[in-house]
């Protein structure tokens, strides 16, 4: 169980490859640090995925290139799984809080009381509005975000269709955090158009087909 001993043994087993492999480990750690510091959520996610890829590559390379004990490979793999699980769950759990801060979002109940009451009947989620004229709605964590631009544009029935659509996403997300984590770790995204269809079917059931289609017509592709 002497980890330092294992590492130096590995250095010898890997011989000329040791430098190459450790370079990837250093790169992976640097990328994870960078992804924690980046402000733009999209770049942050990309860096994070890159960090995962380099980390995984380094572990795989160690496993295939070494000639002696396999214990260190196992340690490394477990460390990788533990760290990425914590990071992914942390991101999922706190992503909506991050968005609230970034968008300076406020509870939608304070501006349109019925929105929060309507969503309460469908799932447990908070509804927030944020200051932007661009019509937009999305779900993150256990929160639904809608822009003032969307509130301006849609009437009550259409807004209900959008809220039901987003509420479905939240129900769906909370049901399967493990699956989406696995999808993320395997670098495969779940089939998005199919999810959107199911969310739309739910929205049509709650708010009616007419409301859903007129909302879609007014703001095609702005609620996801």
């Amino acid at each position: 169980m002497n980890i330092l001993g294992e590492i130096s043994c590995y250095g010898q087993c890997l011989k000329s490859w040791a430098l190459f492999v450790s370079l990837f480990f250093v790169m992976s750690i640097a990328l994870i640090t960078a992804s924690l510091m980046l402000k733009d959520p999209k770049k942050r996610l990309q860096t994070f995925v890159f960090a995962q890829a380099t980390g995984l590559f380094a572990v795989a390379a160690t496993f295939y290139l070494m000639n002696c004990s396999e214990m260190l490979s196992l340690y490394l793999y477990f460390a990788y799984v533990a760290i990425s699980t914590i990071l992914i769950f942390g991101t999922l759990r706190y992503y909506d809080r991050l968005m609230i801060k970034r968008l300076e979002a406020k509870p939608a109940g304070s501006i349109l009381k019925w929105t929060q009451e309507f969503v309460d009947k469908l799932t447990s989620a908070r509804v927030y509005y944020f200051d932007s004229a661009v019509p937009k709605a999305f779900a993150a964590g256990r929160s639904i975000f809608i822009s003032i631009g969307l509130l301006e544009l849609l009437d009550e029935d259409e807004l209900k269709a959008v809220l039901a659509h987003e509420a479905w996403h939240i129900r769906h997300n909370s049901g399967m955090p493990f699956l989406s984590q696995l999808a993320l770790m395997a670098f495969s995204s779940s089939s998005e158009p199919e999810l959107e269809d199911q969310a739309d079917r739910f929205a049509a059931k709650i708010a009616g087909n007419t409301a859903l289609y007129s909302a879609r017509n007014k703001v095609d592709k702005v609620f996801i």
Partner: protein, 119 residues
């Protein structure tokens, strides 16, 4: 949005300093004072999808302010220009004169006085 590196001397009127959509919005606000989003899209004849992002930018850059109103269960923005047309013109002129003096020094000042003598 009146950034010196984006000034386009060959354009006409306000579009020397603003994008065409920014200019159309500012012109509408200067002539009407307060306007809602739908009044703006109606007056400028530009669809909401093109206007919305520009409105966010104009607010962020400080050329317009907006407040949120809630009437009969409908929420809407009301826009107002921050500077009057004259104030905006004087701000733009000062910026450009400053940059000319910074680049050419006394020569620029000499030309300004020649220009005003001609008038």
């Amino acid at each position: 949005m009146v950034k010196l590196d984006q000034i386009n001397i060959s354009n006409d009127g306000l579009t020397k300093f603003f994008s065409p959509i920014e200019a159309a919005i500012l012109r509408a606000l200067w002539s009407e004072g307060e306007m809602t989003t739908s009044e703006l899209t109606g007056k400028t004849n530009i669809p909401l999808t093109s206007v919305a992002g520009t409105l966010d930018r104009l607010v962020k850059a400080g050329y317009t302010t907006r407040r949120t109103e809630s009437i009969n269960g409908r929420v809407r923005y009301v826009y107002e220009p921050v500077l009057s047309e004259e104030e905006a013109a004087s701000e733009i002129t000062t910026k450009i004169l400053d940059s000319l003096v910074q680049a050419f020094g006394p020569l620029a000042v000499e030309n300004f006085s020649k220009y005003s003598d001609k008038k």
